[in-house]
């Protein structure tokens, strides 16, 4: 006690106390998260908040019969239903003007894990993280999912998501069976062999063909991988990837393209996950780490110009530092996401994804330089990040974005919310889409509707079949959303 009393009289001791305390706070400053979703007063939004809309009400079903009753009643009463999970889609796919929003987050149970068959049966409102937590202790991992595990199973299947895996095809291909509630309110269990082809429309169907209640999804061994990273020039990427695909030891892959002025669309980093044949049962699922530090780095890069160069340099150093490290399959499929939070008033950060045939990549990237500026420091519309995923050809779903083997360019961009700023962003994105279409590519539909209806129809030539089936299977137009209303109806 006496020692403490003596220490308190020393300025150096109190100074050290302040420094230590401040350091602890700096490390733990929480990150402000976007306010979006069903809780917004009076209006519903999705992740970007760009399409606020008034709805009639939000309903949560207690069980399957309850769900069935809600859908049947909507058929009788002429109500419209939109289906929502965690609402990470960005184009009004989860709500409809004056409609009912079916909040599926209550359906979040893991129903069955079959270790022999390597399958998991899970309710649609559960997240991939819930599934990972259930299967990791038995040495299993997901076959295909997005880079982050924050999405619901139903949401990911409705947008037919893809990720870093390069061996198992699209997410839709990993589903063995599922239980759905059809637009007329019938409960059905469907498989890929189902003569009614429900899966063909429900995967990538954006919630317009029924409610996914549960899904039996194939899983695989939770192997340990060695991370391999390499710096490349854009021009050599397509041939590099061809070789990579032929190496059967490579399980997962993605790449980052420079958007920094000094190396704009010229330099890139690849990150590969190579099989070690070791199966992992013990490594814990990783949690978000050093979020504040990563966010600070991203915030610096968000300013563009020299600071974007600095950010790219930091990314390169980080990527080089993980070369040779080991990671489990589960952990490679659950990257951090909180550091990407962006809450600046008057501005919004959105995603877009463009798919380009593998063999057109180099020519496409060269022409892209004419559409987006290398240095966007003084522009309102800014690009922060481009990552590349491989999307294997999908000939199963109707609105398929990968008609052949494609590279998906996931683009993180930012613009202001004033009318002229949105118009400018729309113009750049439409030009970008135009270039993509000219190279035989497509764009991804879960994001905000910057593209024209003509561009949608050109990207998805099967849209008429989609619309026709929608009317046939849902004659009372029970399942509706803003996306359908704008592009398909």
């Amino acid at each position: 006690m006496q020692t403490i009393a003596l220490l308190v009289k020393k300025p150096w001791f109190l100074g050290s106390l302040v420094v230590i305390f401040v350091s602890v706070i700096l490390w733990n400053i929480p990150i402000e998260k976007r306010k979006y979703g069903l809780s917004q007063s009076g209006l519903v939004t999705d992740y970007t908040g760009l399409l606020p809309e008034r709805i009639e009400r939000v309903v949560k079903a207690e069980n399957r019969s309850d769900l069935q009753r809600i859908v049947k009643r909507a058929n009788v009463n002429g109500q419209q239903i939109a289906i929502a999970g965690l609402q990470h889609s960005q184009g009004g796919h989860t709500y409809y003007k004056n409609g009912v929003v079916l909040d599926m987050r209550t359906f979040n149970r893991i129903l069955e894990i079959d270790e022999q068959q390597k399958t998991v049966r899970v309710e649609a409102g559960a997240t991939w993280e819930d599934v990972q937590e259930a299967i990791q202790p038995v040495g299993l991992a997901l076959k295909v999912t997005q880079s982050q595990s924050i999405f619901t199973i139903g949401g990911s299947l409705s947008v037919n998501a893809h990720g870093r895996d390069i061996r198992f095809g699209s997410m839709a291909e990993t589903v063995k069976a599922m239980t759905i509630i059809t637009p007329e309110g019938d409960i059905k269990t469907v498989t890929r062999e189902d003569p009614d082809e429900w899966m063909k429309y429900i995967f990538g169907g954006y919630g317009l063909f029924g409610v996914i209640v549960d899904v039996t999804v194939e899983v695989t061994e939770n192997h340990l991988y060695t991370i391999q990273t390499e710096k490349l020039k854009i021009g050599s990427y397509a041939s590099y990837f061809d070789q990579l695909l032929n190496d059967q030891h490579m399980a997962m892959h993605y790449a980052r393209v420079s958007v920094a002025p000094n190396s704009f669309l010229d330099e890139m980093y690849v990150i590969n996950y190579k099989q070690t044949e070791k199966r992992d049962y013990t490594t814990a699922l990783k949690k978000e780490q050093s979020v504040r530090l990563t966010k600070l780095a991203l915030d610096i890069g968000r300013h563009g110009g020299a600071l974007e160069n600095l950010f790219w340099g930091t990314q390169k150093r980080y990527i080089a530092s993980i070369d040779g490290k080991e990671i489990t399959r589960n952990n490679a499929m659950r990257s951090e996401s909180t550091f990407m939070e962006y809450t600046k008033p008057g501005r919004v950060e959105v995603l877009q994804e463009f798919f380009i045939p593998v063999h057109r990549f180099e020519a496409y990237m060269n022409e892209l330089k004419n559409i987006i500026p290398a240095n966007d420091k003084n522009d309102d519309f800014k690009i922060h990040n481009i990552t590349i995923r491989y999307a294997a050809a999908d000939r199963f779903t109707t609105l398929n974005y990968a008609k052949e083997d494609m590279f998906g360019l996931v683009v993180l961009m930012q613009h202001g919310l004033k009318e002229e700023q949105i118009t400018e962003a729309t113009s750049v994105i439409q030009n970008w889409t135009h270039l993509t279409l000219d190279h035989g590519g497509t764009y991804y539909l879960p994001y905000y509707r910057y593209q024209t209806k003509e561009q949608f129809r050109r990207s998805y030539p099967q849209w008429e079949k989609f619309a026709e089936e929608k009317l046939r299977r849902d004659p009372n137009n029970v399942f509706q959303n803003m996306f359908y209303d704008y592009y398909v109806k």
């Binding site: 106390l17 305390f21 700096l26 929480p30 008057g346």
Partner: protein, 177 residues
């Protein structure tokens, strides 16, 4: 003049700090994302104030003080608070730095003030003045707390200038005695 400023400047500063406190709290709550962070900011201020108090007390030459710089420092911090954009990416980092500086300066000022002959008289007066001032301010509609904070910052800078003149004057009077 010398006597008056020696007597009244610390009172003005003490009263001003208490009067501005509610506005400062509103601002701090606005820029803190969570209550936890708000409380941490306060704790930082408190630890820094203890540090500043101890620095002032450990001065070997008690006749010599940096009080003019303390006033100026406080003034600059309050003016900076008024100038910070709430949407800045670095806001939490800036706030924690300002809390450390403000705590340090306030602790130093309190220790220095306690050594002055007028301290006990000021203690009573400042309570009364603050009471009256707050009644007055209750009729002023707050548009934004930063307006008051900035005004107080300017006032503090004026106190620093006043203190500088007082010291200079004292220097010129003494040789001529």
């Amino acid at each position: 003049m010398n006597h008056k400023s020696t007597r009244y400047l610390p009172l003005v500063v003490t009263v001003g700090q208490v009067v501005i406190f509610p506005y400062y709290i509103i601002w701090l709550k606005e820029v803190s994302l969570t209550f936890t962070l708000f409380a941490w900011f306060f704790a930082t201020f408190s630890f820094a104030a203890a540090w500043g108090y101890q620095i002032a007390q450990s001065r070997t030459n008690k006749d010599h003080s940096y009080i003019m710089f303390i006033y100026a420092g406080m003034g600059i911090v309050y003016i900076l608070i008024g100038a910070i954009k709430n949407s800045s990416d670095i806001l939490p980092y800036a706030v924690i730095l300002l809390q450390v500086i403000l705590g340090l300066l306030q602790g130093y000022f309190r220790a220095w003030h306690a050594e002055q002959d007028t301290y006990h008289l000021h203690a009573v007066h400042h309570y009364l003045i603050v009471g009256c001032a707050m009644i007055g301010f209750s009729f002023v509609k707050i548009i934004s707390p930063v307006v008051f904070i900035t005004i107080f910052g300017i006032l503090m800078c004026m106190c620093a200038v006043w203190e500088l003149f007082r010291k200079e004057k004292k220097k010129t009077i003494i040789p001529g005695k």
